[in-house]
């Protein structure tokens, strides 16, 4: 490539970077401005004082500590559930012979076509009768179930790619099925565990409609609806809203560094799923 071409190439790549970053920077800047400055000044960051105290207000007085904690509990339980439940199921599908093996596997995969919002009404009614509406469990169970097709598919394929001799020799040594799975196969499946964790962490953390339908008790709210709640006043306080918004995505930005590689893998695997 000529020098001019290289320069043009990097100009375009930088321009696109600016478009990707600008909303995020605007969020940070707006959260640090005085309330009336957010819309009146064009400069991205506050020109006078930086109002860090907005964060303290949002975190303490506006319950963001509790929303944050709820999001952590729900997301962590969902991730553990997905990895435990579906590694077990996929292990059976991949390694054990039993009547109905294939049919059940296909039934699970078929669930990926189910449209999310459509089943919200029956889910709401069902949870109401089960008495788990408006609880953590009521939020966690559907989140786990929603990840089933992709998780079972990825785990099963991965377990099948591990030489079968390993399974046989574990059996010879007298290891039970559970031990073979959790002490031999799972430690070998770290890439799949990481991929599923990365994809579902984002899915669960950013999920809006499910908590909107399931939760009505404000003390159980997760971050996305917590942010919407900040906007329920008569007029919008942009600095407060943006501070809450930033708090809600900081964990994503922090984890993204480690998880990026696996996230990208998951995106490609998810494409197979689509």
């Amino acid at each position: 490539m000529t020098r001019a071409k290289t320069a043009a190439l990097y100009c375009i790549l930088l321009l696109w970077s600016v478009l990707c970053l600008y909303p995020l920077l605007w969020m940070v800047g707006a959260s640090l401005k005085a309330p009336m400055d957010v819309m009146s000044t064009f400069s991205l960051f506050p020109q006078g004082k930086w109002h860090w105290e907005t964060y303290a207000e949002v975190w303490n007085r506006l319950n963001f500590f509790s929303y944050f904690w709820n999001s952590v509990i729900v997301t962590l339980s969902t991730l553990i559930g997905i990895n435990v439940l579906y590694s077990m199921a996929a292990f059976a599908f991949a390694k054990l012979r039993f009547p109905g093996n294939n049919a059940l596997f296909i039934l699970f995969l078929g669930m990926m076509f189910v449209p999310g919002i459509t089943v919200m009404v029956p889910l709401y009614l069902t949870e109401n009768y089960l008495g788990i509406l408006n609880t953590y469990i009521g939020l966690i169970l559907p989140s786990i179930n929603g990840a089933a097709p992709m998780a079972i598919f990825l785990f099963r394929n991965y377990f099948r790619s591990i030489p079968h001799e390993l399974f046989e020799s574990a059996k010879m040594e007298g290891a039970g099925i559970m031990r073979t799975l959790f002490q031999i196969y799972l430690p070998l499946s770290i890439p799949i565990l990481a991929t599923l964790t990365a994809i579902n962490f984002l899915g669960s953390w950013n999920s809006l409609i499910l908590p909107m339908v399931i939760l009505s008790d404000q003390s159980l709210f997760t971050l996305p609806i917590g942010v919407i709640l900040l906007d329920s006043g008569v007029f919008r306080q942009w600095n407060v809203l943006m501070a809450g918004s930033l708090i809600s995505i900081v964990p994503i930005l922090l984890c993204f560094g480690f998880l990026q590689k696996y996230y990208i893998k998951g995106l490609s695997a998810g494409a197979v799923k689509a």
Partner: protein, 309 residues
């Protein structure tokens, strides 16, 4: 005898291992899906108990598809049209743009990983938080209007904000959706381009192939299946869109950004709605998504790919 015993034990172990997953699946997955399909043929006004449901046959579908309920079918038609515009943009804007950026990124030699990380950010941060930011940018006094004013383009300014005016609201929402969804297509194209063996290009050059021949004979055969996946994926995103609209406009102004899923949600959980109609609408949309996906598979899928071999 021993063998049969072992086989029985293996089957038992298998069932025990899948039991938790299947149990959850039956209660939360299968049951709600069947329930939902059944409910779409019943009338159940919002907030009423399930035993008040009355069989309605195909009336729910008639209500919003054939004008049985005049107001509702008007809303539905507008929502479908808006969904289709979003779907159109998700194919005609996202795919070329993602492909161009992927090609440029592949050409770059330095900072590729940093660029890739930055380009992924819109996707991973796409959530309520970011949709509020876009609302701020589109505000009457927000960055976009300020930018236009500073260039002296006062006639371009949207006085009620970009999502506050009927003719700019949908394009503005589409920009937000495209911004958040583009990284997925970009990453898939980029992965595809990286998978092309550079030796193939070298060999083709030695054989005297020109740039066009390299593109059509080497690059495209690898990118084509990815493009099919990207089209189906993006159609799905466009037809199932909810979060952006809910946070930014709730379908307004005057239905200019109404989409089917927001309509479904309002029917299901707002006063005067009917949960049966909500389910019927949802499954109609599902059928439409399914048919469009199959059509794209037929149009761009396997068949012509096999012919080239």
């Amino acid at each position: 005898m021993n063998y049969r015993k072992a086989a029985r034990r293996e089957a038992l172990a298998g069932y025990l291992l899948i039991a938790p997953a299947v149990g959850l699946f039956i209660v939360i997955g299968l049951f709600t899906v069947l329930f939902s399909i059944v409910l779409s043929f019943f009338s159940l006004p919002q907030g009423q108990l399930i035993w008040n449901a009355k069989f309605a046959g195909l009336d729910n579908f008639k209500d919003f598809l054939l004008g049985g309920n005049y107001i509702l079918s008007g809303f539905f038609r507008q929502a479908i049209v808006n969904n289709m515009w979003i779907a159109f943009a998700m194919v005609v804007i996202v795919i070329p743009l993602a492909l161009i950026i992927a090609v440029l990124l592949e050409k770059a030699t330095r900072g590729v990983r940093l660029f890739r990380t930055i380009y992924l950010l819109p996707m991973v941060t796409s959530s309520v938080a970011i949709y509020y930011v876009w609302q701020g940018l589109y505000d009457p006094t927000g960055s976009i209007n300020q930018l236009l004013a500073s260039f002296g383009l006062d006639s371009w300014i949207a006085k009620n904000g970009w999502i506050g005016e009927i003719h700019t609201a949908l394009p503005a929402i589409i920009i937000t959706i495209v911004w958040g969804a583009l990284p997925h297509s970009l990453i898939l194209f980029f992965a595809g381009l990286q998978a092309v063996d550079t030796h193939l290009y070298e060999a083709a050059e030695i054989d005297g192939a020109n740039a066009w021949q390299k593109l059509t004979r080497i690059t495209w055969p690898i990118l084509k299946p990815i493009t099919v996946i990207v089209i189906i994926m993006n159609l799905n995103v466009a037809l199932q869109v909810f979060d952006q609209i809910w946070v930014m406009t709730k379908g307004g102004p005057a239905g200019a950004t109404q989409v089917v899923n927001v309509l479904v949600y309002q029917q299901a959980f707002f006063q005067d709605g009917d949960m049966g109609v909500a389910n019927a609408m949802g499954w109609t949309m599902f059928m439409l998504t399914f048919i469009l996906s199959l059509l794209s598979l037929k149009l761009f899928g396997d068949k012509s790919g096999r012919e080239s071999h």
